[in-house]
């Protein structure tokens, strides 16, 4: 492996992004494109009794106003394609949640479409909605086995676990509805050519969106092309959602390409959100701190029309060595949009577990780092295989970097001037990979000495372009500047959705294989070519570097990719086959210092140390960037982010970045981030594991635990605002 792997090279697309040359979905220029805008339901539950579109139609430039009466019929795509909505709007008169589309206006300009959408008048036979989870907890139910097996499962013998326990905690905590707020809102630009559909979409899964659209319109998958070269953040909001289907249907209806961009406000009901949770975590342990039993009951808000549970309790099930365990994942149906991925379903649940562990550390009188070390899993609790994550190293190194040894464990014991100071710790842990449909790849070497490497994956801002370019350059023995990497197009060899921290494991194996095979092919061409200085040499003894091929122990005897491919007369094209991808786990330890104003209750995060194990790090710069971003999300989860819903109307009252508070720069301290950086032998991705979501776990619990240390107050409900500390 060359020195390229791991190097903190800058993003290969950085210049394009900062100069505006990068064309995002809404930047795509398609001749004759009209503009779409949605009108949304103002009631949360009921039926549409009438819809008056006359005023909207009368706006100059309006081409169509499509309602449930006039929208062409569409099939609801299967959830396996990444369409997580249980229905397609504008197909009947039933309203399932506020903010559901009731009309789609198409006009010559965006301003016309927007004005007309505001003039659509729907009347409803509305019922009072039910949107407050606390009022509906007695309706919680355990859904049938789904994505990850049974939603009520027991490992070992829980009664035995309790019998062995000498200390216990019983913690109930709640978390609130939160939204993604990607900088780039969702976009669809759909154009039909006969029965063939091309869609520029801001999506985290071009293949899934392609399949969703093919399902919806009942056309062959091959007749749908989805293009998404740049995505300005996805965070679970950018699989396929109704606006994409409706925009494509409108384009077909008006016989013109149609572009639709969700407004910020619309994005609070037009895709999913992180659902509100109620959790009860009970832990039992021996006096030496070793866990004997855990019972984790997670109850999440769900809509009326879906049933989606994606393993929120995974961290509790597998992160620690817990012999006896019960995990229950329940749902409560409310008149709200689909509660589903927002960064990750594991975020809020690991928060509860890590806070409960902090309480347990006090119950057994043990340092919280030591408690976690005693319970670190050495073999996977479900498979019995040795674990490949280094939790103890993360904890120990983090404690060293943070100076944890200086912590006085007594709450309210540490001060700085007039401020209370608290130190808290939590583990980070998240599934990495395991989404089926590993990506294929194609490498094309040209006579100009460059390589075009293609894979139908996505770069949702995480650095995929860069990491895969590094892998390509490394495998080929070319400079990074000779690699052109293409992704985000369903015409390319297909790859799975960029979710579940799965991208690296799904794409690196085939990219490495394609580039390795392309290299071997060119080496063979050289040794078979009488005109090559390498003619007749043993291919096994040929090395490649910086675009050259040379005899390993006689480096002056050399040829180049450009020359070999040039003499060959045509480009060398090699396909890499998709590999298998297994679900692995990336972990870490996060240490946080907070200050709390003793009189005003204001909490500020002052210092963060995160040490993470994501296997081999392919690019230290982009991976560090993910760690920082994830920790910032986690600060938001803990302290500020909250989508507020008006109980009477069922409508979001904070659908903008003024009402929905994401952390600003002043809320984010400088952070120390380190990686274990050792290859995981179980990973097919050169030893690298997926990482995107891991750092958004952990810090929120570390903050809550630090607030307890600072104040002696245990706040079990998020967000941990100042009003909870008065």
């Amino acid at each position: 492996m060359s020195q390229l792997i791991g190097r903190p090279v800058a993003r290969v697309e950085a210049r394009a992004k900062v100069t505006g040359a990068a064309r995002y979905a809404a930047d795509a220029q398609v001749a004759g494109a009209a503009h779409g805008f949605l009108a949304l339901s103002t009631v949360a539950r009921g039926v549409i009794t009438g819809i008056d579109v006359r005023a909207a139609r009368a706006v100059p430039g309006v081409l169509a106003v499509l309602t449930h009466e006039t929208m062409p019929r569409l099939r609801a795509p299967d959830a396996s394609t990444g369409y997580f909505k249980g229905f397609v709007p504008l197909q009947d008169d039933v309203i399932h949640h506020a903010g559901q589309p009731v009309a789609l206006v198409v006009a010559e300009t965006l301003e016309q479409a927007k004005e007309a959408a505001g003039l659509v008048r729907a009347t409803y036979d509305a019922e009072p909605p039910r949107v407050v989870m606390a009022d509906a907890m007695d309706e919680a139910y355990v859904p049938p086995p789904g994505f990850d097996g049974p939603n009520d499962l027991t490992r070992g013998d829980v009664d035995e676990g309790w019998a062995e326990a000498e200390a216990s905690v019983d913690v109930t905590c709640t978390t609130v509805m939160q939204h993604h707020n990607a900088m780039e809102p969702s976009v669809t630009l759909a154009a039909w050519d006969g029965d063939r559909l091309t869609v520029h979409e801001s999506t985290q899964g071009v293949t899934g969106t392609q399949q969703s659209l093919a399902h919806a319109f009942d056309v062959p998958t091959a007749d749908v092309r989805v293009i998404s070269p740049y995505v300005g953040g996805a965070f679970g909001a950018k699989t396929t959602w109704p606006h994409a289907l409706l925009t494509a249907a409108a384009a077909r209806h008006v016989g013109r390409p149609v572009k639709l961009v969700l407004s910020r406000a619309q994005s609070y009901t037009s895709h999913g959100h992180r659902p509100e949770t109620h959790q009860r975590v009970r832990l039992g342990a021996r006096r030496d701190g070793r866990l004997t039993v855990a019972e984790h009951v997670t109850t999440e808000q769900m809509s009326r029309t879906e049933e989606a549970v994606y393993s929120p309790n995974a961290g509790t099930r597998v992160h620690y060595a817990i012999p006896h365990l019960r995990s229950v994942q329940r749902l409560v149906r409310l008149d709200l949009p689909t509660g589903i991925f927002a960064r990750s379903p594991e975020t809020t649940t690991l928060h509860a577990l890590e806070c409960a562990l902090d309480e347990l550390s006090l119950a057994v009188g043990m340092d919280p780092v030591e408690l976690r070390l005693r319970n670190a899993a050495t073999e996977h609790p479900e498979t019995g295989e040795p674990v490949n994550w280094h939790q103890a190293r993360c904890l120990n190194r983090g404690a060293e970097l943070f100076g944890w040894a200086d912590r006085d464990p007594t709450p309210r014991s540490m001060r700085d001037g007039g401020l209370l100071v608290g130190w808290g710790v939590a583990s980070a842990s998240h599934v990495a990979g395991g989404i089926p449909g590993g990506g294929g790849a194609r490498a094309t070497l040209s006579a100009d000495g460059t390589a075009l490497v293609q894979c139908g994956t996505q770069d949702i801002g995480t650095g995929t372009y860069t990491a895969l370019s590094q892998v390509s350059a490394d495998r080929l023995g070319m400079p990074l500047t000779s690699i052109r990497f293409e992704l985000g197009d369903s015409d390319l060899p297909s790859a799975p959705v960029s979710a579940g921290s799965a991208t690296l494991q799904a794409t690196v194996p085939s990219v490495a294989a394609a580039c390795g095979a392309a290299r071997d092919t060119v080496v063979r061409l050289a040794v078979d070519d009488p005109e090559s200085p390498l003619h007749g040499r043993d291919p096994e003894r040929i090395a490649t570097a910086e675009g050259h091929l040379f005899v390993r122990d006689d480096p002056e005897r050399r040829d180049s990719y450009a020359a070999v491919v040039g003499r060959h007369g045509s480009p060398v094209v090699v396909h890499g086959q998709p590999g298998n991808t297994t679900a692995l786990r990336s972990t870490g330890a996060v240490f946080v210092e907070v200050t709390v104003h003793p009189r005003l209750g204001t909490v500020r995060v002052r210092r963060v140390v995160g040490v993470f194990d994501a296997g081999r790090i392919l690019n230290h710069r982009t991976t560090r960037s993910q760690a920082i971003g994830g920790i910032i999300w986690s600060i938001g989860i803990a302290l500020t982010e909250h989508t507020l819903v008006d109980a009477a109307s069922g409508r979001v009252v904070t659908p903008n970045l003024s009402g929905y508070l994401v952390p600003v720069n002043a809320d984010v301290p400088d952070m120390v981030v380190e990686f274990v950086d050792e290859p995981d032998p179980a990973s097919p991705a050169l030893g690298a594991r997926g990482f995107g979501e891991t750092p958004s776990t952990g810090a929120s619990a570390a903050i809550a635990n630090a607030v307890h240390h600072a104040t002696g107050r245990r706040v079990r409900d998020l967000p941990l605002g100042l009003d909870r500390l008065l």
Binding site: E111, L600, T602, A648, D667, L726
Partner: protein, 331 residues
């Protein structure tokens, strides 16, 4: 987007005539609030008159030596006022309130006059799909029973409990500022205490201004030597956020006794809130935990909290302690 007419003039009289002649006409200066309100559909003027060319941006000291006043042009940008040497030296409460406002980018655009005229952040007001007595008189007030953590505990009515969001106005209230205007009927001066109205039964009437009347300047008496002042803003994140609670204090001591004091509060009331009762509880007394606590009790005596904002009753008293603690450090 709704169509509207746009006019721009460099003469104040013409600007007033233009707006006065159009029932839904509106002035625009920095545009940091009006444009958002228009995009959200909470305001829909048929005519927008751009006043950025009016010669109203100066910040100057006027009046004779013993009674100097700071005259702040209505179009002075918040950032420029905060950086003015006489302001930062002699009126810390004003500088601190300004620097706690919004973000540097907003402060570079937003004007003093516009800041006094900004509309509430109440989400029921800002979303035209909700009922709101302020936006659509008589339609109702969902905040009374709804999401009201950010709403007023003082100065509200059954018709409206929306908080006035300005930091600047709270500081000006503590400084006994005067608002100078030019209207269809000529010039007049309005004491800041008479400028913002409580909602009562007519929450759509927010200020003493008549339609078409334009703020031209704000005058602040420069404080006598020995006056201390400060502004404390408590909010849910470190910056770029409106106050949950804020407190402005202007204080003159006579030895260890409070000679004179002005206290104004933000985040808790439907208009920038001055509490004479709290001031009376401290004037002529020493600043002790007991006297400050008594002032705090006087401040919230008439408070009427709703479902989610009862914490403000406690928080504002603590904010009072905190701001006075920072000023009266010799107690």
């Amino acid at each position: 987007m709704r169509r509207f007419d746009y006019a721009r003039t460099s003469r104040a009289g013409e600007a007033v005539d233009l707006v006065a002649g159009e029932p839904t006409g509106a002035f625009v200066a920095g545009g940091t609030d009006l444009l958002n309100l228009m995009k959200d559909g909470a305001e829909a003027p048929d005519l927008v008159v751009d006043i950025n060319d009016l010669p109203l941006s100066d910040v100057e000291v006027v009046g004779e030596a013993a009674r100097e006043r700071l005259r702040i042009g209505a179009l002075a940008r918040l950032a420029d006022v905060a950086a003015h040497p006489r302001v930062s030296r002699e009126l810390p409460v004003l500088t601190e309130a300004l620097l706690a406002t919004a973000s540097p980018q907003v402060r570079n655009m937003a004007t003093v006059g516009g800041n006094l005229m900004q509309r509430t952040r109440c989400w029921y007001f800002r979303d035209p799909d909700f009922a709101c007595n302020k936006r659509a008189p008589g339609s109702g007030c969902p905040a009374q029973e709804g999401q009201n953590r950010w709403h007023a505990i003082l100065g509200g009515s059954d018709h409206c409990i929306a908080v006035h969001p300005s930091d600047l106005a709270v500081a000006l209230r503590a400084l006994d500022a005067t608002v100078h205007t030019l209207g269809p009927g000529g010039r007049r001066a309005i004491a800041i205490g008479d400028f913002h109205r409580e909602p009562g039964a007519a929450p759509e009437r927010e200020t003493a201004l008549r339609h078409g009347e334009l703020i031209t300047a704000v005058e602040v008496p420069l404080p006598r030597r020995g006056t201390r002042s400060g502004y404390l803003k408590v909010r849910d994140r470190a910056t770029f956020e409106f106050a949950v609670v804020s407190a402005a204090a202007v204080l003159r001591m006579d030895g260890r006794t409070v000679r004179d004091i002005a206290l104004a509060f933000g985040g808790i009331a439907t208009r920038p809130w001055r509490s004479a009762a709290a001031e009376d509880a401290l004037r002529g007394r020493r600043l002790t935990d007991d006297t400050v606590a008594a002032a705090g009790r006087a401040l919230v005596a008439g408070a009427r909290p709703r479902t989610h904002n009862a914490f403000k009753v406690e928080l504002v008293q603590r904010a009072l302690h905190e701001v006075l603690g920072a000023l009266g450090d010799d107690r």
